[in-house]
């Protein structure tokens, strides 16, 4: 009777680790390749140790935990998954080689040991993928949240005047956020005029139009008047076809016209300063327009 797989692994530990480190150095991606042998060795040893413990105790969790821990640690690196995959497949390859040479003449034991190794590496690989996927999803969720925060800026452009530039598609969830942000912005700045710029909204359907109307009505309840600007030709067509009544809403062609209207409402006006010499008249006219 030959020694058990655990005993075999324990016995050949230094040789296996060395071989693993050598192969890893040859095969692996930028991170491992950049490591010196002295740095590489402890990592290989840790991987081997996890494998050994898993075999010795009959607990695949030991190896899985090692995989999870080192994946989480190295998540920020671009090649984390790729290299874990390489490491696990090399570990499997090296250990299987050992099994083959040790149990070459005892088919039953060879089969059993191979199966154990295969199952362990398969499970570990699966674990690596799962951890990677979870971390990835977490990141996507984080970005989604950041994006939605960025999506509703309320900007004060002048005393009592706010601008709400809307960019991108508006769904119910976002419409609700927009309304909340705008209303709190109005009370915070005590703004009397709000310019809602929908230049960047690609599609306006009944739902979006209703959200906008609701927002405008709610703003009015607070005591702020709204000016809707940036309605493109297509959007105007859509609004008329959908028979959406915007008659109670002040509309202007673009943000500039909206700001001019807002200032006018407050009895203000943008005028050119007294002419410095040497400025051509057309430029002044342009600026005044």
């Amino acid at each position: 009777m030959k020694p058990t797989l655990a005993a075999l692994l324990a016995e050949n530990r230094p040789r296996v680790v060395q071989e693993l480190a050598k192969k890893m150095g040859e095969r692996a991606g930028p991170t491992y390749a950049a490591l010196s042998p002295e740095e590489l060795l402890p990592r290989m040893e840790a991987a081997f140790e996890a494998m050994y413990q898993a075999v010795d105790q009959g607990k695949p969790e030991v190896l899985n935990d090692f995989v999870s821990a080192s994946m989480r640690q190295r998540m920020a690196e671009r090649y984390a998954l790729e290299e874990m995959q390489t490491l696990l497949s090399l570990l499997r390859q090296v250990v299987l080689g050992l099994v083959d040479s040790a149990y070459g003449d005892v088919p039953e034991q060879r089969l059993a040991a191979s199966r154990t190794v295969e199952e362990l590496s398969h499970g570990a690989l699966q674990q690596a993928f799962q951890v990677y996927l979870e971390a990835y999803e977490e990141q996507v969720e984080l970005q989604r949240r950041t994006l939605s925060e960025l999506s509703t800026p309320v900007i004060k452009v002048y005393e009592n005047v706010l601008v709400l530039p809307l960019v991108g598609a508006i769904d119910t969830e976002r419409a609700r956020r927009i309304m909340e942000e705008l209303l709190t912005g109005i009370t915070r700045h005590q703004a009397e005029l709000v310019i809602i710029d929908i230049t960047g909204v690609p599609v306006v359907d009944t739902a979006v139009a209703n959200h906008l109307i609701q927002t405008i009505k709610a703003a009015r309840l607070l005591g702020a008047r709204s000016i809707l600007v940036g309605i493109s030709g297509e959007v105007a067509q859509a609004l008329v076809h959908l028979q959406i009544d915007l008659s109670g809403v002040v509309t202007r062609s673009n943000l500039q016209a909206g700001i001019e209207y807002a200032l006018e409402q407050m009895g203000l006006e943008i005028v050119p300063r007294s002419l410095p010499t040497g400025v051509p008249e057309e430029a002044v006219e342009e600026a005044g327009r």
């Binding site: 709610a218 703003a219 309840l221 607070l222 005591g223 702020a224």
Partner: protein, 129 residues
């Protein structure tokens, strides 16, 4: 035992009446408030009325409708109504309930409410005179 009746004080400043609601109104108190307001408008012949809701966090459909009614009734008696200081959450609730207070002038705060009333009454006087 019914909830105690709350009377909202109604103050007079120049030609205007000011009522600031500081507590959550029960239906009965709200009706009392409406009656008090109309009574005071009748007594004082005020040109304007400001209902300040700065301290109100919650408005239900009954109160929302009641404020709309008061505005209409006051208009019949020749008094302009301004609602001031609505909280964002209250404004959202009202629009969701479909109570957009269409006939009512709104103002961000009491001060702006008074200046709006002043401007309106001055305009009217100019128009008449």
């Amino acid at each position: 035992m019914a909830t105690p009746l709350i009377r909202i004080p109604i103050l007079q400043i120049e030609d205007f009446l000011v009522a600031s609601i500081q507590v959550a109104l029960h239906d009965r108190s709200a009706v009392q408030f409406r009656d008090d307001l109309l009574q005071r408008i009748h007594e004082t012949k005020a040109k304007g009325l400001i209902i300040d809701l700065t301290a109100v966090d919650i408005v239900d459909s009954f109160i929302g409708r009641l404020i709309g009614d008061v505005a209409e009734m006051a208009a019949l008696m020749g008094t302009r109504v301004v609602v001031s200081g609505l909280q964002p959450a209250v404004a959202i609730t009202l629009t969701e309930l479909g109570l957009e207070l269409p006939g009512i002038i709104t103002a961000l705060n009491l001060e702006k409410g008074i200046s709006i009333l002043r401007r309106l009454t001055r305009q009217e006087e100019e128009d008449q005179g």
